[in-house]
Amino acid sequence: MPKDLDELQADVTRCMHCGACVGSCPVNAIYLNEVILEFNDDCTLCKRCIKVCPVGAIKLIGGR
């Protein structure tokens, strides 16, 4: 994960690997490598992935 995206994290114990966030991302900044979510630095921190995740697995850390 690029260091400027340290604040966006998928909780691996919650993530269902369903790809809801991947397909919803407007800038294609998420890749699901079978079971591991990777965020790249195209991310604009729009937080759509946080909202769309059916189980609330994606979080912004550091209070942003």
């Binding site: 790809g19 991947v22 919803s24 909202k51 979080k59």
Partner: protein, 394 residues
């Protein structure tokens, strides 16, 4: 000459049908699937109708069918129900399938038709010559390989990476995305002969479904429009709340958890390019009202395979040659998808009282067919005011 005419990315229903009909029509086909098992994990409510199966050459085996139902039960927010027989219910009602077996059945059909198939193999990048797609880079069991192909087919579902890499615009607005969560719930007392749809504020911008798998087990799921979601994990919370309130379901225990998202958008502008073609959820070929995509995926997959077979014979996978697919699938479903998207845009604005009125009216006057038109005509008899907003459908 490339090793394959066609590489299909994703072995769901859309991919397998494309691979089957392309191979059947003489193309050299490879289908790749990133998971270690076809059909698993399930990302589906598993309700289908049986009317279209023959037309695309699918013969279900006993394992693929979990339950045959008599029809649909539509439940309004105040708890009253309207029953529809299978004949008039239309799409997504008739059979509850088992995707773990159904997807394998379709993959087997593709292999029998001559398609190659590998698992645990992810597409990581498209190979291109200018804008023309010439193949795909894959990671297969940890090894990176480049596979040359006349055409790469994106059948990679809602994630739709292949289309995005090819520069095809599949970006959706929050209004056009439904976020879903489902339990396969056992130890419940549902109506095992009907697929149930619960409307209203229990699932804002969507609905809750109870699709029976057998006498004591059902897929109990929820879909909610992304623009209606507020807090992280809302989708699961809404479903949990519904289950706790429903005496039939409260004692249920989950056998499986399923999550995912589906597009509920108007038909996208473009699904082909030079050496690239999208099919199924990757091409947003989903009914925007029901969120169902299996029948459309299979129908579009058949068209895609036939066009790719022709393209392989002509050695021409240009965008121009693939336009036959673009036209073919649109002829089959574009008008229907567009109408249902318009109807969805209205439905998501309705209040609980309005759904209650609609269901009570349908019970009074009946409806002969589960079409937007027939339902509106029925409601118009009692509540012309309700129908005003939908005037453009009449």
């Amino acid at each position: 000459m490339p090793e394959f005419d066609v590489v299909v990315v994703g072995a769901g229903p859309a991919g397998s049908m494309t691979a089957k009909y392309a191979a059947k029509n003489g193309a050299r086909v490879l289908m790749i699937e990133k998971r270690q098992e076809i059909g698993s994990p399930v990302r589906c409510g598993e309700g289908i109708s049986r009317s279209w199966l023959d037309s695309v050459g699918i013969t279900l085996d006993s394992k693929s069918v979990a339950r045959q139902v008599k029809g649909a039960k539509i439940v309004s927010p105040n708890g009253s129900s309207f029953y529809l027989s299978e004949k008039i219910a239309g799409n997504e009602v008739g059979i509850v399938i088992d995707r773990v077996f159904f997807d394998k059945l379709l993959a087997r059909d593709a292999v029998k038709a001559g398609s190659d198939l590998v698992l645990k193999t992810s597409a990581v990048k498209l190979l291109k010559n200018g804008n023309k797609v010439t193949g795909v880079r894959v990671k297969s069991f940890g090894e990176t390989k480049d596979i040359k192909a006349g055409c790469v087919v994106g059948a990679d579902g809602f994630e739709s990476q292949v289309g995005r890499w090819a520069g095809i615009n599949t970006v959706l607005t929050p209004r056009d995305i439904t976020s879903c969560f489902q339990y396969r719930l056992t130890n419940i007392n549902h109506e095992a002969d009907y697929c149930e749809f619960v409307l209203g504020s229990a699932a804002p911008g969507g609905y809750i479904w109870i699709f029976p798998k057998n006498e004591d087990t059902a897929n109990v799921g929820i879909g909610m429009q992304l623009s209606k979601l507020r807090e992280p994990g809302d989708v699961k919370k809404y479903l949990d709340k519904f289950i706790q309130k429903d005496a039939r379901l409260r004692k249920g225990k989950p056998l499986e958890l399923v999550s995912g998202a589906v597009s509920i958008c108007a038909p996208i502008d473009k699904t082909v390019g030079d050496g690239i073609l999208l099919v199924g959820d990757a091409a947003c070929q989903i009914d925007p009202i029901t969120g169902g995509g299996i029948s459309n995926s299979c129908k579009a997959g058949k068209v895609a395979g036939e066009v790719l077979g022709r393209a392989a014979k002509d050695k021409d996978f240009s965008e121009k040659a693939l336009q036959k697919y673009e036209k073919g699938w649109r002829d089959l479903m574009e008008n229907h998808l567009y109408r249902n998207w318009m109807a969805k845009e209205k439905l998501v604005t309705l209040k609980d009282e309005t759904f209650d009125k609609i269901i009570s009216t349908l019970n009074e006057v009946g409806v002969e067919k589960m079409s937007t038109y027939a339902i509106l005509k029925a409601i118009e008899q009692k509540h012309p005011d309700l129908v005003k907003e939908f005037a453009e459908f009449l």
